[in-house]
């Protein structure tokens, strides 16, 4: 890679950051997100993982169904586990699944989009047909059906979200690739006898990267919400305490009728905050990448 290209990219990055910094919604989103990432990383410092174990919780004399006032900071659940520990450790699972599933989504979507847009012709027609089919199939039932057939584990959830949510990314990337392709410099590079992979790597990828990243930030909320819903419906990994699983357990064990708000409020608020943060960041990035674009996520 030439140093000129590097410089240009560095310049772009600093320009984007400058614009981003001036957006209030973007900075709020980033701040909230950093807070949660920090919490996830520092989980072992914030809460003893053994508090997730009902046997340990009982042995250490935790009360049952205790409100936050009796067992700070967030009370206990039906089998004496600390809700705070579930919240802190749950952020790890939820964020990890959300990010990993997004990586998979973006990977599939980008590959399909780039190949489709760059190769064109019959390949393009075929791939876009398949993409349209996947767009039409309702996303949540498809995810449910796949997860039911595959079984309950973190990796299956990631896989399920990845293979069900790529089509919109694919379409977006393809459109961008087509625009880039039209631009003169690609033609020039091709006329100089460059190979396809060279063109993709040197010219197309750098130009669609920004869009892919903006799209990724908007795909994370969907991944996180999907993980939450799947876990709530009992398709989550039974041994990985995500926020969605906390909500499921609260629901199943009668937290609502007992008005044990401390059991189900924190996890939901956590999801809300992280989803909102990603949405704000994504919208900001989108506006920077395409100032004319003012749209829903």
């Amino acid at each position: 890679m030439t140093s000129i290209a590097m410089q240009r990219r560095r310049a772009t990055a600093s320009r984007v950051w400058k614009q981003f910094r001036s957006s209030r919604q973007g900075m709020i989103g980033l701040g909230v997100l950093l807070l949660f990432v920090l919490m996830a990383l520092a989980a072992p410092l914030l809460a003893d993982a053994r508090e997730l174990n009902p046997v340990f919780a009982r042995a250490s004399g935790n009360p049952q169904w205790a409100p936050p006032s009796d067992f700070p900071p967030l009370g206990t659940d039906h089998i004496r586990r600390s809700v705070w520990a579930q919240f802190v450790w749950g952020s790890r699972v939820s964020l990890f699944v959300g990010l990993a599933a997004t990586v998979l989504t973006i990977l599939i979507g980008s590959v399909v989009g780039i190949v489709s847009g760059f190769v064109g012709g019959r390949v393009d027609a075929f791939m876009m047909r398949v993409t349209e089919w996947f767009l039409v199939i309702p996303f949540l039932p498809l995810a449910i059906v796949l997860a039911s057939v595959l079984g309950r584990s973190v990796w299956n959830i990631i896989f399920v979200i990845g293979v069900t949510s790529w089509p919109s990314t694919a379409r977006l990337v393809r459109a961008q690739v087509l625009t880039v392709k039209q631009r003169l410099f690609v033609d020039r590079a091709r006329s100089l006898g460059a190979s396809g992979s060279h063109i993709v790597g040197r010219h197309i990828l750098p130009n669609v990267m920004g869009l892919i990243l903006a799209n990724a930030t908007l795909a994370v909320p969907i991944s996180i919400l999907t993980e939450t819903t799947l876990s709530f419906l009992g398709l989550g990994d039974p041994t990985a305490a995500s926020w969605g699983k906390t909500l499921e357990e609260a629901f199943v064990n009668g937290a609502m009728v007992r008005n044990a708000w401390w059991y189900f409020l924190p996890a939901g608020l956590g999801i809300l905050a992280v989803v909102l943060a990603f949405t704000l960041i994504g919208r900001t990035l989108e506006e920077i990448a395409n100032p004319r674009l003012i749209r829903a996520r």
């Binding site: 009902p54 046997v55 340990f56 009982r58 049952q64 039974p238 009728v257 007992r258």
Partner: protein, 602 residues
């Protein structure tokens, strides 16, 4: 911009706008008027409403197995002998009397006079004999253990004689459900046709106090009083119908009985005990009838094999010592369950043997660790999970979670914790009860948590752990020749005391094999309103439940109190809710209008 104001302003001006408004109106109207499922019920009937949380499987008495289905059969099908509410002793049912021969092998029953099916057909000795002989010949699952050695012959229209080929301690009790021959005859000789028939739901013809008139799986069963039931003795039935209402959410059932939407509730969560107990017009009770839950360990007799370590009885015993059953009784049952050491085979306590204290599986993780250490199951690679003595395959077991059980999820979480303390890894796998049944038959599990509610005679429960039941009811996947020998012996032992001794020996042997770790004797937690119906009876006396018991005598005995019974109370909050909805809609319109005027001012 209320739709109305738009409409008048745009009159004749914009086709697009008019069409938009038309479209929205049509959509709204369609949505509001969309048919909501409606049950057809007559408003004037006196109804006993019972809430429950477990679904029916099928109402076919030859094939179903769920407790709610048994409850329906108890009401729909009268039996030859009834069971006394107090102690299950045989009392006259369809038969008004009987005589047992000196050798105990022959019993001659005399039917009541003028018995009729609910459709008016006569119910005769012919019906009885045909039922017993057909069930035996066809091998109907739910009847076979009672009738397998019995030959029934018709003496005259009101007399039927039963001859057992072997001594049978269960006689003279004859409690198989009798189906109407005039309806069942065409299908009864084809096993598939008979077991796949919809039973009480398809024909609605029975001989008990109430017969099925409407069944919606997953929702409700409606049973109407049968005017031809012998027990009314020619009088009018005390009330018109029973509605069994299934609640998916046990908490919703608790709210329903509090608000008087149901008169009685079966199987409410222990966590709601205090709330219901505090209600003035609600009585709560622990109904013990021998029901218990267990954690079963795969004994290895099925095709699918458990983890090899589980084939060692010492490992199984160590697992048993690692399970804190007192914690479950305290935290999940809030103290409303009782400790149990071996399985409970009957609704009567006398069949449960005393297990000596030194062989009890007390909660003792240190002892469990020591036992595993001594067996050579060490954690050789330091990952917190023990391996086989030769260092191979870490002891990672698959615990099956029954998604139909209220406590199963919590037990699964606890299982992970308990086993973690003794160096055994656990993965959780979820199945509903049907799927779990298949998994057990296939043997593709290591442990699971489930429960039983036994019958009165211990024989069926005991039979489940014989070699013959592997692949069917033997959910321990374990057998022992000595156990099978004792089983055959008690099956024909006519001396009641000697039979108890044999059963005790069997259950002690079963306990020591450590394939079945009983968690507790779990009562049915039931509640009933004291202001709608009265006269509930417990079966068995004092400790038993008032419904969902072995022969469910309460329903024919309770009577409505005054006017209150059976009225569904749609309270004033309904109108409050509607008012709130109207206010929101009107408010939205007004808000729009005020914004319109605001615009005009600008």
């Amino acid at each position: 911009m209320g739709i109305h104001s738009l409409w008048s302003k745009l009159n004749g001006e914009s086709i697009l706008m008019r069409r938009l408004v038309v479209l929205m109106t049509v959509a709204l109207a369609a949505a509001l008027l969309a048919p909501i499922a409606s049950a057809q019920e007559d408003g004037d009937l006196v109804t006993l409403r019972v809430g429950l949380t477990q679904d029916w499987d099928t109402l076919n008495p030859t094939a179903g197995f769920s407790v709610p289905s048994y409850e329906v059969w108890n009401l729909h099908y009268a039996t030859l002998t009834d069971k006394a509410p107090d102690d299950f002793a045989p009392v006259p049912g369809l038969a008004e009397s009987w005589e047992t021969s000196d050798d105990g092998l022959t019993v001659t029953y005399t039917l009541r006079e003028g018995l009729l099916w609910s459709d008016g057909e006569p119910l005769t000795a012919d019906d009885v004999a045909w039922n017993i002989n057909t069930a035996r010949d066809q091998g109907w699952d739910n009847m076979i253990s009672t009738v397998q050695n019995i030959e029934a012959t018709v003496v005259d229209a009101r007399t039927v004689q039963l001859v057992s080929s072997v001594p049978d301690p269960k006689l003279p009790t004859m409690d198989v459900y009798l189906v109407p021959r005039h309806i069942w005859e065409p299908i009864a000789t084809d096993y598939d046709a008979a077991t796949q028939y919809e039973g009480a739901d398809a024909d609605g013809v029975g001989s008990g106090p109430f017969v099925v008139s409407e069944f919606t799986q997953g929702q409700s069963v409606v049973m109407t009083a049968n005017p031809n039931y012998w027990g009314w003795e020619g009088e009018e039935p005390p009330y018109d119908q029973i509605i069994f209402r299934l609640f998916d959410n046990p908490d919703a059932m608790v709210a329903a009985i509090q608000q008087g939407e149901v008169d009685a509730a079966h199987g409410f969560p222990a966590s709601s005990w205090d709330a219901l107990d505090a209600e003035e017009n609600i009585e709560v009770l622990e109904g013990h009838q021998g029901g218990f839950d267990e954690i079963a360990i795969n004994g290895g007799a099925a095709e699918g094999q458990p983890h090899p370590a589980l084939l060692d009885v010492n490992v199984r015993a160590a697992i048993a010592h690692g399970i804190d059953r007192a914690a479950v009784i305290e935290d999940l049952w809030f103290g409303h369950a009782e400790p149990l050491e071996t399985l409970s085979p009957s609704a009567l306590r006398k069949w449960i043997p005393e297990i000596s204290s030194d062989s009890q599986f007390s909660y003792d993780p240190d002892l469990a660790n020591q036992m595993l250490d001594e067996g050579g199951y060490m954690d050789s690679d330091g990952d917190g999970v023990r391996e086989m003595p030769d260092g191979s395959s870490p002891i990672l077991i698959r615990h099956a979670v029954n998604t139909d059980g209220d406590l199963a999820g919590s037990i699964g979480d606890l299982m992970v914790g308990w086993m973690g303390e003794i160096g055994i890894g656990v993965t959780l796998e979820s199945y509903d009860q049907d799927a779990l049944f298949q998994v057990i038959i296939d043997g593709t599990y290591d442990t699971f948590y489930w429960g039983w509610v036994p019958f009165v005679d211990p024989d069926p429960m005991l039979s489940y752990f014989t070699a013959a039941e592997i692949g069917n009811f033997n959910d321990a996947n374990w057998s022992d020749p000595r156990y099978d020998e004792l089983y055959a012996e008690q099956n024909q032992e006519l001396d009641p005391d000697r039979r108890v001794e044999i059963v005790h020996e069997m259950l002690t042997l079963f306990h020591d094999a450590a394939v079945y770790i009983p968690m507790y004797l779990g009562p049915d937690l039931q509640a009933y309103r004291t202001d709608t119906f009265e006269g509930w009876v417990k079966q068995p006396a004092d400790i038993g439940p008032i419904m969902f018991s072995n022969s469910s005598p309460s329903y024919a005995l309770v009577t409505p109190i005054g006017e209150g019974a059976g009225e569904g109370s749609v309270n004033w909050l309904l109108w409050g809710g509607i008012a709130a909805g109207v206010i929101i809609i009107v408010g939205a319109f007004l808000a729009m209008r005020s914004r319109s005027t605001e615009d005009e001012r600008e």
